[in-house]
């Protein structure tokens, strides 16, 4: 059975292993190229990152009108939280999920999966471009938010941003696996958005929400950005670490269970 139906067999490693590896990389590159071409030409998807960057930039100007362009730390934190959380959630879930749903709609997913692409190659190829995009937008939002760059702990920021973006992409794959079409993908994304986007964004307004936010991977990211905005040093707690890796692991497991059951597309 092929990977479309979730019953992936191990690729025979006959012949020269080097050539086999090169072949696998070619396939991975081809899937990533297809995804890049599809996503970058889908205005419905590509409007998201532009909106996030635009919104943060415009809000920064508007909030700063009365204070000569300088924002108070609280507002910087709010801006950064909204920008990064929207990017991670709205873009991660929707970009990955919708692009798979689009392939189902146009029947190209079946074509791709009957062209010797493995489930793993499709998985990695599908999240590669969105992952890079999420990371890039996170950095752009960080730059334009007005946070002094000398207080940014670059390595922890990169690490947290990477794990969070990856988790978001895996959740997007779950959305894509469950969705029948693009409309359906958006609909399935909403519960994820409500939890992973709204709770951290409004975490500052309620103690209870703030506590819950601490148990969400997006909450760990906003916790970090709040520290940055307040000019405090961010130290990753064991709980943050457990939440980041725990939720990444759970997402991967849920994806694997769904994939094993029906593959990328239910017959």
């Amino acid at each position: 059975m092929n990977s479309l139906n979730g019953n992936v067999q191990t690729m025979e490693m006959g012949g020269c292993p080097g050539a086999q590896r090169a072949g696998n990389l070619h396939k991975l590159a081809a899937v990533a190229r297809i995804k890049w071409l599809c996503i970058s030409r889908n205005a419905m998807i590509m409007i998201g990152p532009v909106l996030v960057i635009g919104m943060v930039y415009v809000c920064k100007i508007l909030y700063g009108i009365n204070s000569g362009g300088t924002l108070v730390p609280f507002l910087r934190g709010v801006l950064l939280n909204i920008g990064i959380t929207m990017n991670i959630c709205a873009e991660g879930f929707i970009m990955v999920g919708t692009s798979i749903a689009e392939e189902k709609e146009s029947h190209t997913l079946r074509v791709l999966m009957t062209s010797s692409i493995t489930g793993m190659q499709y998985f990695i190829g599908s999240i590669l471009f969105p992952f890079v995009m999420l990371m890039a937008v996170n950095y752009i939002v960080l730059f334009i938010s007005g946070i002094p760059m000398d207080i940014v702990p670059w390595i922890p920021f990169f690490f947290v941003s990477m794990v969070v973006s990856l988790t978001s992409c895996v959740l997007g794959m779950i959305v894509g696996i469950c969705a029948k079409n693009q409309m359906n993908a958006n609909l399935i994304s909403y519960p994820f958005l409500m939890v992973f986007m709204m709770v951290p964004i409004f975490g500052n307004m309620s103690e209870a929400l703030h506590k819950i936010s601490g148990f969400l991977f997006t909450g760990v990211m906003t916790g970090m950005t709040e520290c940055l905005a307040a000019g405090e040093t961010y130290v990753m707690s064991p709980l943050d670490m457990a939440v980041l890796f725990g939720e990444l692991l759970i997402s991967v497991l849920v994806f694997l269970v769904l994939y094993k059951r029906n593959g990328y597309e239910k017959d």
Binding site: Q9, T108, S116, D267
Partner: protein
């Protein structure tokens, strides 16, 4: 395994929840052969392709594709086969060239090969056109081009000319015959009997998931030619269909002696009439 047998189905049955989709299907496909799978919609044609290509698992029986059991095939088999399904999609926002080139990347096919296939299917001048703007015939040719890009040993075509204009259908037929000449084995499903008779070396007539006839189109037609008849066109545009019996033979001999016959030929049943006779149903339903 018999020499040159690329595909064999042995006692294949498939049952969905309440419906028996396929019953005891047996057949073989050899290298350089076109096998037609004929039947009306819902007869089980697409299900058969899905079982052979590992997209669906049979309830019982064995399907072997290129020597491998279909229920155990992995993705590498798709490097040796091409599949054109009834709803094979194209990337509409990509150009014709990009649609082929991304798959060339998967199969590691050279640019020259992409160019050659593009020219072969007559889409060379449309290379930079977004695939979504192609006509139905051009889209079908693009799908076919993609399926043969990596020179598969077996090509599966599910209703390849369905809904196409006659000239595009003829162009596709020509291309299939060329591929056959190159040694490719083609498994073709269709409900177009003329197409099957013209292209196929062997056909299987499928009815309610069961093969009711199997053989070359000529063999099948001759087998069902029980009531032999002759069509005779006489001078004065008088056309007659006469059953073969001593009286009519004498009549024909007389017309021949008097040189009154303009045209005469035997009337064998067509695949369509055979199907109707065997199943009591029309193929075009």
């Amino acid at each position: 395994m018999e020499q040159n047998v690329l595909l064999s189905l042995s006692h294949i049955s498939k049952r969905f929840k309440t419906e028996q989709a396929l019953k005891d299907i047996n057949m073989t496909l050899h290298q350089g052969e076109i096998l037609g799978f004929l039947g009306p919609s819902g007869a089980g044609k697409t299900t058969t392709i899905k079982i052979i290509t590992g997209q669906l698992r049979q309830t019982s029986g064995e399907a072997r594709l290129l020597g491998t059991d279909s229920s155990n095939i992995d993705e590498s088999i798709y490097e040796k086969i091409g599949v054109v399904s009834d709803n094979s999609g194209i990337y509409k926002k990509m150009t014709v060239w990009q649609n082929l080139y991304v798959f060339a990347g998967i199969w590691q096919v050279s640019r020259e090969r992409v160019e050659k296939v593009l020219t072969q299917v007559g889409l060379g001048e449309h290379r930079n056109k977004p695939a979504g703007k192609l006509s139905k015939g051009q889209t079908q040719r693009l799908v076919l081009a993609r399926a043969v890009l990596h020179k598969p040993r077996v090509l599966f075509l599910d209703e390849p000319t369905s809904g196409l204009d006659p000239s595009t259908a003829v162009a596709i037929h020509r291309m299939l015959l060329e591929l056959k000449e190159e040694g490719m084995a083609i498994f073709l499903t269709t409900h177009n009997m003329e197409e099957a008779a013209k292209l196929c070396d062997k056909v299987a007539l499928l009815h309610d998931g069961e093969i009711v006839e199997f053989g070359s189109p000529q063999e099948i037609c001759l087998k069902h030619n029980r009531n032999k008849k002759y069509s005779v066109l006489l001078e004065g545009d008088r056309e007659l269909v006469l059953a073969q019996n001593p009286e009519n033979v004498r009549k024909i001999a007389g017309w021949m002696e008097r040189d009154e016959i303009m045209r005469i030929h035997s009337c064998e049943p067509t695949l369509e009439t055979v199907f109707l006779e065997v199943t009591g149903k029309d193929l075009n339903v």
